[in-house]
Amino acid sequence: MNNIKRLFQILGRWKWYYVLSGVLLILATFIRMFEPKVLQMTIDKVIVFFQTGGKVAYVPDDKITVFLYSVLPEFKIDNPELILVSLGIIFLIISLLRGMFSFSSSAITASSTEKATKNLRLRLFSHIQALPLAYHSRTPTGELVQRCTGDVETVRKFAATQVVEVIRMLALFSGAFIMMLSINVGYAFIAIFLVPVILIGTLLFFKKESQIWAEHEIRQDKLSVIVQENLSGIRVVKAFAKEKFEIDKFTAQNIEKRKWGLKLNSLHRIFWPSADFLIHTQIAVSIFYGGYLALNNQLTVGEYTAFYAYSMLVTWPMRRLGQLVSDMGMATVAINRLFSILETEQENYEGSNFSDEKLKGEIEFRNVSFNYEGSEKKRVLNNISFKVKAGEKIALLGPTGAGKTTIISLMLRFFDPDSGKILIDGVETEKYSKEYLRSRFGVVLQKPFLFSTTIKDNIAYAKPDSHIDEVVEAASAARIHDIITEVFPESYETIVGEKGVTLSGGQKQRVTIARTLLKDPDILILDDSTSAIDSETEFEIQRKLRKLMKDKTTFIIAHRITSIQDCDRIIVLDKGRILEEGTHEELIKNNGFYKKILDIQVSIEEEIDAETVSEEN
């Protein structure tokens, strides 16, 4: 039931179109019922009338034949052609109407399905964009993409083919059944007496089938894993000359997969013929009973032929039932998986918008503690407090896992602290809307990520309508302008990524720095974003930044001491705590962690001197 509700939710405001489409289809089906009637008329009425020279005038006994009779020209013994042509035209009109109705029905279904699917895709996309980073860090990208593409396609197919199909099957079945009832009640029930057996059989079959299918999929997955491992380790395979071993391993699993494929097939080769057998037995019994009634004058030949056509129509949905049940199973799984994404709570974007107001850049951490969801072992940040004045250049230094990146994430409200307060310009971060806050910050992330579009669009990512001069200015500041114009084939219009030019790590970092600078942020954060840039270029970038970010608060996370020693203040972190803070000089005096790192340089020189000397001796 829940699944049906969810399905309706996906179909959204288009769900009524499915009803409309269903109604049209029922109409088409209803009109189709007239087609055998035309033949019945021809046989019962026309042929008997003219063959007997007009002596036997058949009295129409149901409403349809009365109706058809009324639209036919008057029966005269010399006008069989006219009557027959009229019957032919009536038949064509019926068929045309039926065609038009079924076409409009399909077109409406298609249009609604595509709209609903588009809507679903969009909903997923924007929902995923709004999901908190915590969700993204625990969900593999491949899985999300698979759901948004594969599962959406499964649902789309189900909506496109089966939703209206259910209506059609019900309509066909009940339409044909009602027509039969109107001719002969007893006969009508005889014509469907095997239906319950077929229904139960189908359900049992699909229960069994889904079990074997699951087993089959496990084999198939194992085969994929073998290929996956083999291909990603192909260098190892070749280095150890293990090709034959690998082929044997693959063959064994391939045989296993084939075995289960054949098992599945042997289930199918039992089910489908059995269903066919039952359906044909049903038809044979119907024909026999109808013939019996006809011979006893309880049924006319025309009625009998019409009945034959109806009993074909009644059994037809039975043949489709199998497909329907199996598609339904697949769609249910897909829908549930999609809803597990859609029902995950989004980030809360509420909060006061300070519109275009700039931030001064005063930041204060007051007893902030934080832990990532699920990791209970140790605190990532433990009671951290510090104050940053507007315009200060702050360096964060410390081993991996010290909590540097977490401090950044908290300022941007990717996460909220477990306890303590973070104040920006004296206001708690929770009071700002995330949108506003993030738009005032400029962060160069640790992993440089570029989109597969042009260099220009990448740099102008935050301000798509930027003038090219602004882009060039930002690129020059990040020391990437020369490379763009001299090395890249189409300068700023060069497409990067899979479909275009692959950039080196250092080039990527510089493009991301340009991207951030173009945003003209109030507070700049460089999260280890110069690691792949050589020290000379890094120095030049820093000099440029100092000019651009004059009076603006800047945070720098770096692993090289040389790149941070000019900062106004250096905060040394370890295991979520602040070890020491101060200027370069102060920290040297302090003789702590910072000093130790600095001392390495000296010790290395001594060590090397010793080595070269020992050689000389």
Binding site: I47, R121, S126, L144, E243, G261, P273, I283, V285, G291
Partner: protein
């Protein structure tokens, strides 16, 4: 290294060669294929005969009896009617039902077998081909892309020649049987129905082409949509920090709308197609009512009532086989690109193959010599030029220098993952291209930068080095490299790609694997990423044991590894610029000296900051 282009859609011209090649696979199972065709035709025959039986039943069992009742001679004697003829015909119908079910059983059986066996065969061929192909192929092919050939592409083409082919055979059979039956009974009426076939075919071809065009377009958009999802999920942090979530969504919206439109168009023409074809059949049916009716009303009747009913039935049914054949056609069109991907892979020739008269290396001592070796991956970008290098058996060599200088190329050449584009590489004085690849690789062991393990136990992974190794040899190899801790963990699962183990553990196991192979030549590309100090010490110890007594070539990043080697070779832009022992090179104060100093500083800083 650009990836091969996947979105290559073919034109109609390639349909025939594609089907021809695909069917060579099912022709391997001639008996099944023959059985398949026979029983599908059987089903079609039963379905074609069905209206005829119905016709005879009406004409022979029902109409005369009723007319008898109606005629005055029978009077009002309305006793029990004779059911024997009715029973006889219903018996035939029941028998046909049995025959039909039997045929369905048989063709499902054969179709399923053909599908599974051909799938098996294609996958075997693909996998074997993949094992043959050289590194140069793997450099430009993404794993995921290759995977999809073995998985989804194979499924697609085998469905075509099994279940898809049923529709084709059934359709053709049905048309032939119906035409034959109709011609036997009445040529004039038969012509009316037959004439509709070319018209319906024309409609089918025209509309199918339109449908195909738009469905291809929509698939192209679909792959863009997939890429877009992927990109914006991977880059979600950028979107968030730049506050661009809604713009990204807007861009996605327009892409998704493009897909909606082409997808709708394809569905629209599909929606148009079926009613149109059915209507074509109805025109024939209307003509049958007129002509057939005229024939039936004359006295004596030219045709019987039953025959009129039967022809009416044929006229309203003839569209079905045409629909089925056109479905096969479009399924085949849609499978072409999958087929092309499969066959182009099967046709790819490995760049490194044993020469015809290649002989095996027997025991070797491990001398390696590069004589004027040149090498490039791409023609206009030489990597190595006229390189000369002699490595004595048992010597250990550290290769150092900048990335892209040619270090990896040297080890790739020694392993014969690539062959030199100029010059000769000699192992124990013999040109290795005159020897078999397998015998060379059996003499060497390679440890790569990122250790790759396979699913299975730790024991199985170590045994990968040598299948016939017994338990004590495995334990010994672990003891030798200082991996005592694994001795009790041999039955532990490594997980897919070794994911259940830490990087350091994987490294140790790959050492044990290498040492178990007892190679004469040991090659290693040292990992750059740092691991914790304890593991580091163990790994150093492992390396030390491995290089003992073997010719070893190591791309070294760690200073301790470098210092452990007998000789250090500094490579820059494809040339050897320094060559000598650590002490010699330090003393020379050249580029090794500055490299060593810089690296030492970075290493110490990293030790402080990363541990």
């Amino acid at each position: 290294m650009s990836k091969l282009n996947e979105t290559k859609f073919s034109n109609d011209g390639s349909l025939y060669p594609f089907l021809k090649r695909l069917f060579t696979y099912s022709l391997r199972y001639r008996k099944w294929l023959a059985g398949f065709v026979v029983f599908v035709l059987g089903v079609a025959a039963v379905e074609a005969i069905f209206p005829l039986i119905w016709l005879s039943l009406l004409d022979n069992a029902i109409v005369p009896a009723i007319e008898n009742n109606r005629s005055p001679s029978a009077g009002s004697v309305n006793g029990n009617p004779d059911l024997s003829l009715l029973t006889y015909y219903c018996g035939i119908i029941f028998f046909l039902g049995v025959a039909l079910s039997g045929s369905v059983f048989m063709f499902i059986n054969f179709a399923g077998k053909i599908q599974e066996y051909v799938m098996f065969d294609i996958r075997q061929d693909l996998f074997k081909k993949l094992q043959e192909l050289s590194f140069s192929f793997y450099d430009k092919s993404a794993v995921g892309w290759l995977m999809s050939r073995i998985t989804s592409d194979t499924i697609k083409v085998t469905e075509l020649i099994s279940w898809g082919f049923i529709e084709f055979v059934w359709g053709v059979g049905m048309i032939i049987f119906c035409i034959t039956a109709m011609l036997i009974y009445n040529v004039k009426l038969a012509m009316i129905v037959i004439l509709t076939i070319p018209v319906l075919t024309l409609i089918s071809v025209k509309l199918r082409k339109l449908i195909l065009k738009y469905s291809r377009e929509s698939r192209r958009f679909n792959s863009e949509i997939t890429a877009s999802y992927n990109e914006h999920i991977v880059g979600v942090e950028v979107n968030k920090s730049m506050v661009q979530e809604s713009r990204a969504t807007e861009e996605f919206d327009s892409l998704s709308d493009k897909m909606r439109i082409s997808s709708y168009k394809s569905a629209y023409y599909s929606a148009l197609y079926q009613p149109l074809v059915i209507f074509g059949g109805s025109v024939a049916a209307a003509l049958i009512i007129f002509y057939g009716g005229s024939m039936a009303v004359t006295f004596p009747a030219e045709i019987s009532v039953g025959m009129l009913a039967a022809f009416f039935g044929y006229a309203t049914l003839i569209y079905e086989p045409i629909l089925d054949i056109s479905r096969f056609y479009s399924q085949a069109q849609n499978s072409i690109s999958a087929g092309e991907r499969i066959f182009s892979l099967l046709d790819t020739q490995p760049t490194i193959k044993d020469r015809e008269n290649a002989t095996d290396f027997s025991e070797i001592s491990g001398d390696i010599e590069f004589e004027n070796v040149s090498f490039f991956y791409e023609k206009n970008k030489p990597v190595l030029e006229n390189l000369n290098l002699k490595i004595k058996a048992g010597e250990s060599i550290a290769l150092v220098g900048e990335t892209g200088g040619g270090k990896s190329s040297i080890i790739n050449l020694i392993c014969r993952f690539y062959e030199p584009t100029g010059g000769v590489i000699k192992i124990d004085g013999e040109d290795y291209t005159e020897k078999t690849t397998v015998s060379l690789r059996n003499k060497l062991a390679v440890v790569l930068q990122t250790p790759h393990l396979f699913s299975g136990t730790i024991r199985e992974n170590i045994k990968y080095g040598r299948d016939d190794a017994d338990e004590s040899e495995i334990v010994n190899s672990l003891l030798l490299i200082g991996g005592d801790e694994f001795i009790n963990r041999l039955d532990e699962e490594a997980g897919e790609g070794g994911e259940k183990l830490s990087l350091g553990e994987k490294q140790m196991i790959s050492f044990a694997r290498a040492i178990l192979a007892d190679p004469r030549i040991f090659i290693m590309d040292e990992a750059t990423s740092s691991i914790d100090t304890l593991a580091e010490a163990k790994i150093q110890n492992g390396i030390h044991e491995l290089i003992k007594g073997r010719t070893s070539i190591i791309i070294a990043h760690r200073l301790s590894t470098i210092k452990n080697c007998d000789r250090i070779i500094v490579i820059k832009k494809g040339k050897i610029i320094e060559d000598g022992s650590h002490k010699q090179l330090m003393h020379a104060k050249g580029s090794y000296y500055s490299l060593y100093t810089r690296q030492l500083r970075e290493q110490r800083e990293n030790e402080m900051l990363k541990c």
